[in-house]
């Protein structure tokens, strides 16, 4: 039996998270509800899906809901096999989905519970996540779900290297590295802002300062050849 699964649930083999509150508007997700409840109660089976929707970009991301940052839908997380009842309760609240990964749902594959799962770590995550405010939960959801498109990244890599043979793992790795780099930039920019005692959205000057500092720390690869002719 095939069921679509939210990739966001994927990484939850190692991290226990409280189930999502946010509504879901797609049929695939609605059909997940009974299935998920079933799966959650299954013994050692866990739904294992890549949390970064890495593998699912190939299916072609379709529509992205543009209203995410300003959407009023509550954030959504799916639980692992541990929190069956919570999962069922929360999923019932799903109405509309506000993030990209929904379109990239793939068939759920049942796999053994990964050995990297740490019960104490999961319990800690669960404890923390249950205490999140709406705002925090929405931000955390964005953090987990957001990813650079593999197709775009592959196109970029092809244009850079000139070689057509960019393997899927390579694309996945570069997307992951780039996402972490964005994280470093944004976090450092926030630090710069607090130093300057400014508030509000991040401005380009903060990003530039953050980038300069990252370069000083050596986290940005330096060009061996000067970049001319921009």
């Amino acid at each position: 039996m095939k069921q679509s699964k939210d990739p966001f649930e994927a990484a939850l083999e190692e991290q226990e998270e409280s189930p999502p509150d946010s509504p879901v508007g797609e049929d695939e997700l609605n059909s997940q509800t009974p299935n998920e409840a079933q799966n959650q109660t299954d013994g050692g089976q866990n739904i294992l899906v890549d949390d970064d929707d890495d593998d699912y970009d190939d299916l072609g991301p379709t529509i992205k809901n543009p209203s995410h940052p300003s959407s009023s839908s509550t954030p959504k997380l799916h639980s692992t096999s541990v929190n069956a009842s919570v999962a069922a309760a929360v999923i019932n609240k799903n109405k509309e989905y506000d993030d990209d990964e929904e379109e990239e749902n793939v068939d759920v594959e049942l796999s053994k519970f990964p050995s990297s799962a740490d019960p104490t770590k999961m319990a800690k995550m669960q404890a923390i996540l249950s205490q999140f405010t709406e705002d925090q939960m929405s931000r955390y959801e964005s953090f987990r779900r957001s990813a650079l498109q593999k197709s775009n990244m592959r196109r970029l890599l092809v244009s850079i290297t000139g070689s057509q043979k960019i393997s899927l793992p390579m694309t996945i790795v570069v997307c992951g590295i780039a996402k972490m780099f964005v994280g470093e930039l944004v976090e450092k920019a926030r630090m710069v802002m607090t130093e300057r005692k400014e508030s509000g959205p991040i401005r380009p000057c903060h990003i530039r300062e953050a980038y300069r500092r990252l370069k000083l720390e050596g986290k940005v690869p330096k060009r061996s050849v000067q970049r001319l002719f921009r």
Partner: protein, 128 residues
């Protein structure tokens, strides 16, 4: 007209009939939508400023470009570009390295799971 944002090597998309794979012009705003969500997740405002998103995209593209060029340099010694080259480049950066190994192992698991799933399906089909 001078290009206001530094570090930009992309040009505006020309209305040509060139296929994007062979064209060397880079469209602006390739990662815009994803980057907005991502920046919000990492601590920015719910609605990041568009100029900030553009700047971050430029920086990321430049970062990936530099990374890919370095990886190519390393990979050319071996013959072709591989994932190992990228992993070698970020070896000093523990969080990134751990994350990448985690992503790769998850991808492997998924592949195995998918294969197992297909086998099961076949069995079901043959049973009926």
């Amino acid at each position: 007209m001078s290009n206001p944002s530094p570090g930009t090597s992309s040009k505006a998309k020309v209305g040509s009939s060139q296929p994007s794979e062979t064209s060397f012009k880079r469209k602006r705003g390739v990662f815009q939508k994803d980057l907005q969500h991502m920046m919000y997740g990492f601590g920015d405002d719910a609605n990041p400023l568009p100029e900030t998103v553009t700047l971050v995209e430029d920086i990321v593209v430049e970062y990936v470009t530099d990374l890919a060029h370095k990886a190519q340099d390393i990979g050319s010694k071996r013959g072709k570009l591989s994932v190992e080259d990228f992993l070698y480049l970020i070896r000093k950066d523990m969080p990134k390295l751990n994350r990448c190994t985690e992503l790769l192992s998850m991808q492997e698991e998924l592949k195995q799971a998918r294969k197992a799933f297909e086998v099961d399906e076949e069995k079901l089909a043959t049973l009926e």
